[in-house]
Amino acid sequence: MNIPLIVFVVSFVAVFLLGIPLAPGMMLSSAFYFLLSDNPAASLDMVAIQFLTNLNASFVLIAVPLFVFMAEIMNSGKVTEMIFSFSSALVGKRKGALAHVNIINSIIFSGMTGSALADASGPGNMELKAMQQQGYDDAYSCAISAASAIIGPIIPPSIPMVMYAMLSSTSIGYLFLGGIIPGLLIGIALLIYNAIISNKRNYPEGKSFPPREFWKFTLQALPALFTVVILLGGIYTGVVTPTEAGALAAFYGILISVFVYRALGWKELKQCLINAVRTTGTLSLLVGSSFAFSYIVSIEQIPNVIATFLLGLTQNKYVMLFILNIALLILGCFLDTTPIQLIFTPIIIPILSQLGIDLVHFGVVMVLNLMIGLATPPYGMLLFTVSGLSGAPLKDIIREILPMVFVIIIVLFLITYIPDLVLFIPKLSGYK
């Protein structure tokens, strides 16, 4: 190991130890490396060059702010409320009905936004209040909201899948399609789990909806539900690219919120824009900073060193997938989704290629791993979000969510070892 590389590693460890935000933290490590390196390819302006040229060429990445904006629009208008009423009418009179509604709501909402946190903070807020009013335990309500929010970025659209597509040069369209079956499987697994627990704990039954009322709610929700058709239909009929789909759906969201539901004024729109700018700044700055970081990782040939080490452990792709799953689950307990993707995807890709692991398949597996990380302690953003919304203590939520996480991990291993659960729909659409 040369001195610039040692300084690079040590300063990055210091970023973690001192709690320095990771985006400027990655620039910090890169700056110190470039300062000390005598490599002609490592000049001090490299942080700016890598950041600006790569970000300015990442057309795919613009999908991120657009999906963020779309989620803001959906959460601020009446769209969330309409879908909640529709899901309630759909579930009807069942034991633990509201918890079922919570899960179905997440499945529908996941077709509109690409973020688990948007799901937990938007519809999750409404679901938690309703469950509190009906006398559910706060901890269980929070746990089911957080666990079902995991589906958000698995069913398309998906912000982490856009990031993975950019880092691995994989098709976003096929990745999105690959997430549909795993997302539905998680939904079904959580519905079964909830049915068992609701019977055991005697959670309240839902209200039965006469056909006339059912159709009323369905009709009211139709403009909102049509967002999914616009998004996915637009992408797969070729009318829009996946990147443009975010803009089109947000535009449609504005139209229905203003003209159909009459719930979006200038004040709300301004707040949506402010929130979108803040989230875009957080995520895109992280991505931009990671370009110089990845450049150093690449010129120091770190992916090759790690690939050689891991391939020395095993050449069996199933064992490798197991190792990668465990590693990602552990990393997810401590780190946020985007840094893990940005730092580790370029390192993992050579290993996948050498072992013949399909990149679309692994992309969906990786995103699910990272989403589970959002719901696991000690660093689980979904846990913090639902705890913040309801005021329930974290330790109680963790106790309730762990069996749900276990159920989702079973789905994770199913999709890991039966690749067709991911690849079946992409193959139907021509993926080879």
């Binding site: 130890l17 110190f32 470039f34 700044g281």
Partner: protein, 165 residues
């Protein structure tokens, strides 16, 4: 400091960290919508893609400053959260000082690079790339000033001002 100066300063900072990124984000969004409708009903345009990419760079960097101000940046804070108040203060000072040094080191080379890019213009709108890339320098200067002020604050106020953000 006189009140009018404070207000003017706050307005200027808001312009850089909030109003300009809102404007660039809105432009990005509208460009996309125009592109979709133009391609579907008229003919594909080149400029919306170009403009949206430039607006994306601006929104990322200036929006990044806003996310720093709002404390929503991604950080690993488990050790920081577990530390005692005095240790936290030292961690903040060291962290901010390291960032300040790093940004000061790359400021001039980054400025030179951005200025050098003036020779290149975007294909459709002929926007000089030094304008497209200018917010990187704004980001560095804004961060350097903020970090310096935070370090000074650590020594001048008895209570800690906030996290290592």
């Amino acid at each position: 400091m006189p009140d009018w100066l404070k207000k003017t300063g706050k307005f200027l900072v808001d312009c850089i960290e909030l109003y300009v990124p809102i404007l660039t984000f809105s432009t990005l969004f509208v460009s996309f919508v125009i592109q979709i409708f133009a391609r579907k009903f008229f003919k594909p345009l080149i400029w919306p893609e170009e403009l949206s990419l430039i607006c994306f760079v601006w929104t990322a960097l200036l929006g990044g400053l806003y996310s720093k101000r709002m404390g929503t940046q991604v950080a690993f804070t488990m050790l920081y959260d577990a530390a005692k108040p005095e240790t936290k203060r030292i961690m903040r000072i060291v962290g901010n000082a390291l960032l300040l040094i790093a940004f000061a080191i790359i400021l001039v080379p980054s400025w030179n690079y951005v200025q050098f890019m003036a020779y290149k213009k975007s294909d459709a709108l002929r926007i000089p790339m030094n304008i497209a890339y200018f917010p990187f320098v704004v980001y560095l200067v804004d961060m350097i000033v903020r970090l310096a002020l935070e370090i000074v604050k650590e020594f001048t106020t008895p209570e800690a001002p906030g996290g290592a953000e």
